[in-house]
Every structure is written in C-alpha cells, then in structure tokens.
Amino acid sequence: MALRNTTRRWGAVAQLLHWLIVALIIVQVTLATLADDAPPLRRLGLLARHKSFGLTILALALLRLAWRWANPTPELPTTLRPYQRSLARFTHVMLYALLFAMPLSGWMMSSARGFPVSWFGLFQLPDLVPKSKALYEGMLTTHSALACVLGAVVALHVAGALVHHFVKRDDVLRRMLPFATSSQGSGK
C-alpha cells in the first residue's frame, strides 16, 4: 500500500492517523468514564493520562490536516445525491473541528482550574488561559457538551460508512481499511 493518498484510496499514513485517533478516542472515553467515580488520587492519575492522550490527539490532528492538504483526497462516489454529499462533508468538517475543540477545551479547562498540563510527565505545557473559576466551569460544560456532540457525529460517520459498505456496496469503507483490496483498483 502506498504511503500517499490517491484520488481513489487513502494511503498508509492517512489510514494510520485515522485508526490511531480512533483508538485514542476510545481510550479517552474510557479514562474519562473511569475518572468520574474514582477516589481523588486515582482520579488524578486517570485524568493525567486523559490529558496526555488528549494532547497527543491534538498533535495527530494537526499532522492529519497537514497531510490531507499535501495529498489528494479520495473522491466520493459519483452515485451520491447532493444532500448525501453535504451530509458527508458536514460530518467530516465536524469531526476535524472536534479533534481540535475537544483537546483545546480540555486544556483550557485545566488551565482555568489552575492545574498545569503535562505530557506524560515529560514536559509541562503553558497555560492557555488564566486561572478563573467561571471560565473553568464554562469549559467543563463545553468539554462535556462537545463530547456528546462528538458521540453523535461519530455515530453518523460510522452509520455512513456502513451504509456505503452494505447498502450502496461501494468502496468508501474499504479504501480506509488497511487490508482490504479495492474493487475499483483498475484506475490506479
């Protein structure tokens, strides 16, 4: 599999970034859920990892956007209706936006609380905003609300991929899967 994208298929780098972020988001949800009911010290440890992984996602999201700009984007099937194209575009824009908004709102939440953020204890990041109780509470609400929005958009994204694969029987899901071969591979 080529590293770079073609107009028909995602390359290895784009696939790796996609699936790595999927895995990290699952880790994030798990850590956040566990932290909710944990006693103070355990909570501290869980949230420290949550923040470190969140920063990792932020960095990977930046990398992903840069890679996307530097590569061709596989085209949507010509069979899609205009509203379906719009829906696909909306879902993807939202996903990218949330990949930035989630970590940034979390980072701001920490800064506003007065808890500086470290990346796996290796280095400390600057505070994004000054300490403020009102801002902390605002960011806590924002971060939680965005998590719900992310859940909904991911559901839409997965539903879309499954419809493409099982209903429309096109290539859209397969071209993001590392081990699947493309049925439209002729146009390399």
Binding site: P40, L41, L44, G45, G114, F115, P116, L125
Partner: protein, 201 residues
C-alpha cells in the same frame, strides 16, 4: 576636668548610655544581635510540588516567625517558625481539602508545623540555618540556606530573609496509604520563603 564631665560618669548616665548603645545595635545593620518578628502582610511562605507531572504551587497564610540574629557572628541566634497548617492554600478548594485530610497533612491532628534553629553558619551566598522541623508529628533535621539583609525604613529596623529548601514529603509521613505513591504527586516539595521582619524589641 569640669563638673559637667564628672556628672556624665554617674551610674544612671552609664546605664542610659549602655541602653542607647544596645538599642542602636539592635537597630543597626550588622551591629550585634537583632530581634525580629514577622511582618505577615509582606511575607510569603510558598511551596512547589509536582502534580501529574506539572509544577503546582501553594502557600501558607499564617506562619508566625521570631528571629534573633547576629549577621556578624551568628552567635546567640535563634529562628522559630510556626506554620498554621490549616492556612494552606493551593488555589483549589477541593485540593486544599484533600491536602488537609488525614492521609496528607492531617491538620486536625497536627494543626501546626514547627521549625526551630539555633545553629547558623555563613556560606558563600549567605547563611545556613540548621534546625529541626516538626511536620505531621515527625521531627527531622533540616538545613535551610537563606540570605538576610537589613534596612532602615521610616526609622524602623527591618530585615529581609529569603531562602528555599527541598523537603521530601514522605520523610514526614505526608502521604499515607495510596498517597505514598509518588507517580502523580512527587516526593520533593520545594519550600521557599520571602520574609519581611521588623525589629521586635
């Protein structure tokens, strides 16, 4: 020799002169021993600790200090610091409550920490106090390097004392049970102080 000169040698006059010299010494930079007490409004006692890999800070609001000090000889010098542990603040109510709790500072049982030093030495950059720190019921020898300078402000002798020392919280049992782990809350706590002291007597 005049009658005026003779009258200056009366015991009362000698005492007055001696008292004047003693007062002048207490108030004069570098001159003999000075007796000082804390100016709480212009003094800070802070600490820096590692939480989840990041540096966090806190301070104590109430920590009376008395300091008798001869910068010249360091003889008959004495530093007494009492820290009201419940006055701890780290800027986060939830964290402060946790810190005051039984597993950490246990302020209900150990309301005060105390540092007492009578041994002082001059160092390249200032002084060092060797004393005993009692924290959470555990007493240990602690050395505290510091700088000290005196000044006269509005006719009053003042002293500025600055320094820092790193403590290991677990040496004092600050961290029981799960809190003995140091991966999320580090063992090293850097305590620093910037004190303004005023002549006490």
């Amino acid at each position: 020799m005049t009658g005026k000169a003779r009258s200056a040698l009366t015991p009362a006059a000698l005492l007055a002169a001696a008292a004047a010299v003693a007062l002048a010494r207490a108030a004069t930079p570098g001159g003999g021993i000075g007796h000082y007490a804390l100016d709480p409004a212009k003094s800070t006692l802070q600490f820096t600790f590692t939480q989840a890999g990041a540096k966090n800070q806190g301070r104590f609001a109430r920590f009376p200090v008395t300091f008798d000090f001869s910068a010249e000889t360091q003889a008959a010098s004495r530093l007494e610091v009492t820290v009201e542990m419940s006055s701890i603040t780290t800027g986060d109510q939830e964290r402060d409550d946790t810190l005051r709790g039984d597993d950490l500072l246990a302020v209900a049982k150990y309301p005060q920490a105390h540092f007492s030093a009578t041994q002082f030495t001059r160092t390249a950059s200032g002084f060092e106090a060797a004393g005993k720190l009692t924290l959470r019921g555990v007493t240990r020898d602690v050395r505290v390097p510091f700088t000290f300078r005196t000044a006269t402000e509005n006719g009053t002798a003042v002293g500025y004392m600055n320094g820092a020392a790193t403590l290991h919280r677990l040496d004092f049992g600050v961290g029981q049970g799960d809190w003995k782990a140091t991966d999320q809350v580090g063992n090293d706590v850097e305590v620093s102080f910037a004190l303004r002291l005023t002549a006490a007597r």
